[in-house]
Symmetry: C2
Subunit: 369 residues, 2 copies
């Protein structure tokens, strides 16, 4: 394994830290947000736009790519990077989360999870070994071990079982590795039970992963319980390895987790909300569905320098959105991703200066949610 | 009126000519294709991408913008250019074509055409004066006189009546002008009747328009009859003024009309076909719906240098298209518009060299349709 992670500075008042994550393909600075490119495309943006915004790593979804167009097809076309024309890093999830949230007729055993495709009902069996094989075929730089993700609320027995199985699968995932490049991250489960989280951390972090992810959050538990769990779990993870909070969240969620020492994030919020007409701004959310924006000549965010804010008014975006014009989703996606990229950039600067808490308070005070 | 049109060179073997069309806002070279931006956006592309492709003028649809968001709203937001962040030229149609093709319960008299909106059924009355007022409120650089467009086939009496009314409305359109900038073009009708086309040309071209359009084609008449009509009509138009063929067409249609001395074109084909998965290439059409492209690693057009062909394979575009991903439409739209822009650029070069016919034969021989 050749994944490198160097911590360059620690904040003074919080657990936040700045680092550089590097592989053979390249490196990027942390804390970092990674846009989600489910089906080998971050919806509505050109790869070049992501590069211009400064993103160093994006996500691909193993479950989706395994089903369509198929990992062998992607491999024979030169791998996921070439397929989608993205030359920086790609992290793929293990497929577990989608199997548990999207597929039908799911049946889990210690050996495997069998399910039917949400697309055509075809039967599939996902094992930890297959999850690794698919991710290696795609050529992902950062790969995730298959885990069992449990929705909230769940009985203790169910979560306990998922913790045990996640550890079992984590060992098998490591044993299944063939690709020397990049790295593999393990995932901690344990639901909202403090002792099960601790048990999962102990088991997963004893294994030779290149980094560790907090899984099993953003599954219906609500913001308070989520933050409590993130807070508790992050502090237990080994400080020298990158920490990744999966599927979270709002700008405020990200700042909170950064303050607890989390380095990596992914979430569909900025891209999905953009397609629903919602923009994150320095003064709070702007939802162009609202008729108050009909004649509003202001840019979405007066303090933003993104291509959307430099060109378009709220009234124009509202017009495009209500007409169902593609440019509505395109422009609002660019704005939101630009906003997330800048937020992380400014977070890194604040950590380097040692006053991340001030930056967080100021950001939240100005209306960021 | 301050619309300028300078012819810079004539082809040797055909009626093709190169020119420069200029207004206060700027100028562009002809023959030129103008992408269609129906609802104040060329579907799926950023204004900056259109600039990079070299487009100097795009189209806006008066009918659509009048209904939504409303011309007074656009005016109060600074005009159409500012609204859609496009600083080069805009040509607006008169709304007539859409009233005759989209709206319901249409009733035409010499005074006006009353109709119901295709969106919400609301009742509207369009007069030549209102068509001018709307276009001036939008701030279009090139504006069209309201005409009556007749579908094919049509009885002689109906076409004759439309010719008479189109001339009547042309006079009223000229009288209704208030905006000194830019210019107004008249539209020739006459269906597929040679003598009625001649009559319409004589009537419309006797009026002080800044240019003349061939309307009433691409209305169901088929390619042969269309070319016959274009051929016949173009040769009657005054050579010193720009000639505009409305709503046409394929790359082959454009080259044919250029050879007959037409200067301006607009058509939804490159943009609409892109959204349906069809690309124009130097070797003919590529339709990514076809399963033959599933594993095809080649770019859409091996001889094309557009951002899509530089980055993406047919297999990738097919994948995006079958997944319904926005980037499919975005990338194929960019390719098709790039293709049209380059075709016109190369046409202008061939005319300047005096061998347009060779260029046309070579293009058609290589598979362009």
């Amino acid at each position: 394994m050749t994944l490198g992670f160097t911590i360059e500075s620690h904040d003074r008042g919080t657990d936040a830290r700045c680092g550089v994550l590097s592989t053979e393909r390249g490196s990027f600075r942390t804390p970092a947000f990674m846009p989600v490119g489910t089906a080998a495309t971050v919806k509505g943006v050109w790869p070049g736009q992501l590069r211009e915004m400064g993103y160093g790593c994006i996500l691909g979804n193993t479950y989706h790519l395994y089903l369509r167009p198929g990992h062998e097809r992607v491999r024979s076309l030169g791998g996921l990077h070439r397929f989608m024309a993205w030359d920086r890093l790609i992290l793929t999830d293990s497929g577990g989360f989608q199997v548990f949230s999207l597929s039908a007729l799911r049946k889990v055993s210690d050996g495997a999870v069998s399910f039917r495709s949400h697309v055509d009902g075809s039967a599939h069996v996902l094992t930890p070994e297959l999850a690794v094989e698919v991710q290696e075929a795609l050529g992902a730089d950062l790969r995730m071990a298959l885990d069992e993700c449990v929705a909230y609320p769940a009985e203790r027995g169910v979560v306990e079982d998922a913790v045990r199985r996640t550890t079992l699968w984590a060992r098998r995932s490591l044993a299944a590795r063939r690709l020397p490049e990049g790295g593999m991250l393990g995932i901690v489960q344990g639901g909202m039970f403090a002792d099960l989280r601790r048990r999962s951390v102990e088991e997963i972090c004893s294994l030779p992963f290149d980094g560790f992810a907090i899984g099993g959050v953003s599954v219906g538990e609500g913001k308070e319980l989520q933050r409590e769990t993130v807070d508790r779990t992050a502090s237990l993870l080994p400080p020298s390895k990158p920490r990744y909070l999966m599927g979270v969240g709002t700008p405020g969620d990200l700042l909170f987790a950064v303050s607890r020492g989390v380095d990596l994030f992914d979430c569909v919020l900025p891209t999905r909300n953009a397609r629903n007409g919602m923009m994150f701004t320095s003064a709070g959310q702007v939802t162009v569905k609202q008729s108050r924006y009909k004649d509003d000549p202001l840019p979405p965010d007066e303090r933003c320098d993104c291509p959307t804010c430099r060109s378009f008014s709220r009234a124009y975006l509202r017009h495009l959105f209500s007409r169902g014009e593609m440019l509505a989703s395109m422009a609002m996606t660019v704005h939101n991703l630009f906003f997330y990229a800048r937020l992380m950039e400014r977070a890194r600067e604040a950590i380097s200066r040692g006053n991340f808490m001030d930056f967080m308070k100021e950001s939240l005070g100005s209306g960021i949610q």
